[in-house]
Amino acid sequence: MHLRKAGAGSEAAFLALVDRHHMSLVRIARLWCEDLPRAEDSVQRTWVTLLRTLARFDDQSSLKGWLCSALIRILRIDLGPEHETLFELSAEGAIPAVDPERFSPPGDRWEGHWQRPPVDWADAVPGSAPTPEQRAIIERVIAELPHSQRVVLVLRDVEGLAQREVESALGVSAELQHRLLHLARSRVRSALERHHAEVRTS
């Protein structure tokens, strides 16, 4: 609805779209471009691109997915060929999702089963909101993730893009996305587990 009205020139409708998506796009831009004014500039040009192509916009497309694809194309061009490798995601150098030493070693009767099981989280009830401390931990883990894992986690779990939208925007296969997402989520869980263990022993 807002899209159609924006296409007809409604400033209110256009700004409603901006309010809904702008901050997400800035966050996505900063996955590749730490400089905030430069990231904002790329996002602004994404909105210009949307206006220029509104007449051809397919109603069946997700606007957020479309904006994200357009933004990534703009960033690739702006950052130039010397940064092209930042857009080629890989699972190289990834550490295992769970520390292998937490499982019984090969040859043991319980090989591959927990020998240091997960620490219970008393407050991990479904639907509970993260505390400010838990949010800060997750933000810190995301900032410290390897680039490819950070990109996939932010696009899929924080911004809620579908697998096919990320595949279309970055050309990253479903299988690789799955691997990167699993590794990233595991690191977040692991950091939260350490936090809970510390709280319990303090």
């Binding site: 256009f14 309010d19 901050m23 966050r27 206006l51 499982f103 991990a124 989520r185 595991s186 939260l192």
Partner: protein, 90 residues
Amino acid sequence: MKIPNLVALTCLEVTELMTDYMAAELEPADRVQFEQHLYACTWCMTYLTQLRRSVEWTRALQPVEREASAPSREALAAILQRWKNDGSSR
């Protein structure tokens, strides 16, 4: 995802399959095997619950300031105005 010929899954294997399970991407027979492990293993069940909470909490990380800043809104409103005035760009 197809689990390669496993009679019984270890906890290590189960933790590696959790994202596939959460996305409902295990083959039906593999899903049964995965769930049978969960029925018997409290620790893997705990791990799955924690992974689910981690994803929920990550999804809750939307910026506190959702609206675009005033300068951004002004700049974009000006862009819209120019676009409206420039018939050739439509």
